[in-house]
């Protein structure tokens, strides 16, 4: 029996699929499928949105980076999702419970949940995101230590929970509690110019969307794929880390993770991606 063996460089095989160069800096017109499931990467913008169409950051990446996300086997972020699954079932704290003790199978109980976060939390009277919801559960129901920002199992567990909503469109209920006023505050923050470079979020992700900023192709700055696997760091990056990184890059001092400022920004920026599929864990540059 004769067998042929060819080492195929993934990149080389896919280069013929489409040419991306600095000249063609428009988002690509392609369909993202993950393990054969179609994702929504273009959606009609909600009323009051500065764009007509909201676009996933996937459309702005190179052929090779885009390809990584189409197969959950090649998506390096999936390793951390697996870690998150183990954490879901891990008993911690004085109550002797795991997430699964109350919520059972995440594939059922968490399906679609993260697509509607941040939500209004009537107890703390502020919006709550998945990270803080995990911490709340750990403290109140499990008797376990809350995770510090980006530490412990925070990123993998958040990614695992968000991954259960893969493909489902993002939508927020702004009528809950004071969500609307937090949205307003987030919008203000989005358009606030900061730092020595005097840039706002909108300077790059709205006014210059689609242009090249040196070697980087500016997207709409959507957060539907967070925590996202960034090739630059080689691990998962949380939304608040990304917010802080962006603000730092304007050469400004940056707010603390989960501060009022950044929670408001998360509400507003999530809303800007209304209708896009949850892509967690997305793969980006």
């Amino acid at each position: 029996m004769k067998k042929t063996v060819v080492i195929s460089a993934l990149a080389a095989a896919l280069t013929c699929a489409g040419a991306v160069g600095p000249a063609g800096a428009d988002p690509v017109d392609e369909q993202l499928t993950i393990d054969g499931e179609a994702m929504i990467t273009r959606a009609k913008a909600p009323e009051g949105h500065p764009f007509d169409e909201v676009l996933s950051g996937w459309l702005f990446r190179t052929v090779e980076t885009r390809a990584l996300e189409t197969d959950s086997f090649t998506n390096p972020g999936m390793l951390e999702v697996e870690t998150g699954e183990a954490l879901w079932n891990k008993v911690e704290g004085t109550a002797g419970k795991s997430c699964a003790s109350c919520h059972g199978d995440a594939a059922e109980s968490m399906k679609g949940v993260a697509a509607h976060y941040p939500k209004w939390d009537p107890e703390t009277k502020r919006p709550i995101n998945i990270e803080l919801q995990i911490n709340k559960c750990r403290e109140k129901n499990m008797g376990a230590e809350p995770y510090a920002f980006d530490k412990g199992g925070q990123k993998p567990l958040t990614a695992y929970i968000k991954h259960q909503s893969l493909g489902m469109p993002v939508s927020l209920d702004l009528s809950e509690g004071d969500m609307q006023s937090w949205w307003d505050k987030g919008k203000e923050r989005y358009y606030l110019r900061t730092g020595q470079l005097n840039l706002s979020c909108a300077s790059c992700h709205e006014v210059s969307m689609g242009k090249m900023i040196r070697a980087d192709h500016l997207s709409q700055g959507q957060i539907n794929g967070f925590p996202t696997y960034r090739l630059k760091q080689g691990h998962l990056i949380s939304v608040h880390n990304r917010f802080r990184g962006c603000i730092r890059d304007t050469r400004a001092s940056y707010p603390k993770a989960f501060s009022d400022e950044l929670m408001a920004l998360e509400v507003y920026v999530t809303w800007r991606g209304t209708g896009l599929s949850v892509e967690t864990p997305a793969v980006r540059q």
Binding site: K3, I7, F73, E82, A86, G234
Partner: protein, 108 residues
């Protein structure tokens, strides 16, 4: 770091003579041996140094890995299949551990 866990993706069925694509991934830190810990002491090298794939006992693919290979090494390669059988994958660790995985394929 959890124990290395191999993952493979092989089609379940194929036609005789088909060239199939095989993807493999193993979670492993691939500690290069060049780094130092907080106290300035070198962290000993611990990498996967060999990967092989056999089909029905016959070698299909083999390679040596060196310290520059990144964590969680991923391989993608093609193989021509003429008969049903099983692919056996093995990863050899510096500490002598051998991790393996097997995938069956039915050729129609």
């Amino acid at each position: 770091m959890a124990a290395p866990k191999p993952r493979v993706k092989v089609p379940k069925t194929a036609s005789a003579g088909d060239i199939i694509t095989i993807k493999t991934l193993i979670s492993h830190t691939m500690e290069s041996g060049q780094r130092k810990d907080k106290d300035g002491k070198p962290i000993p090298r611990k990498i996967i140094n060999k990967f092989t794939c056999e089909f029905n006992g016959q070698k299909v693919f083999e390679c040596d890995l060196d310290p520059a290979i990144s964590a969680n090494p991923f391989f993608e390669f093609n193989a021509k299949v003429n008969e049903s059988g099983a692919f056996k994958f093995t990863w050899v660790d510096d500490d002598g551990s051998v991790y393996s995985s097997e995938s069956k394929i039915e050729v129609k």
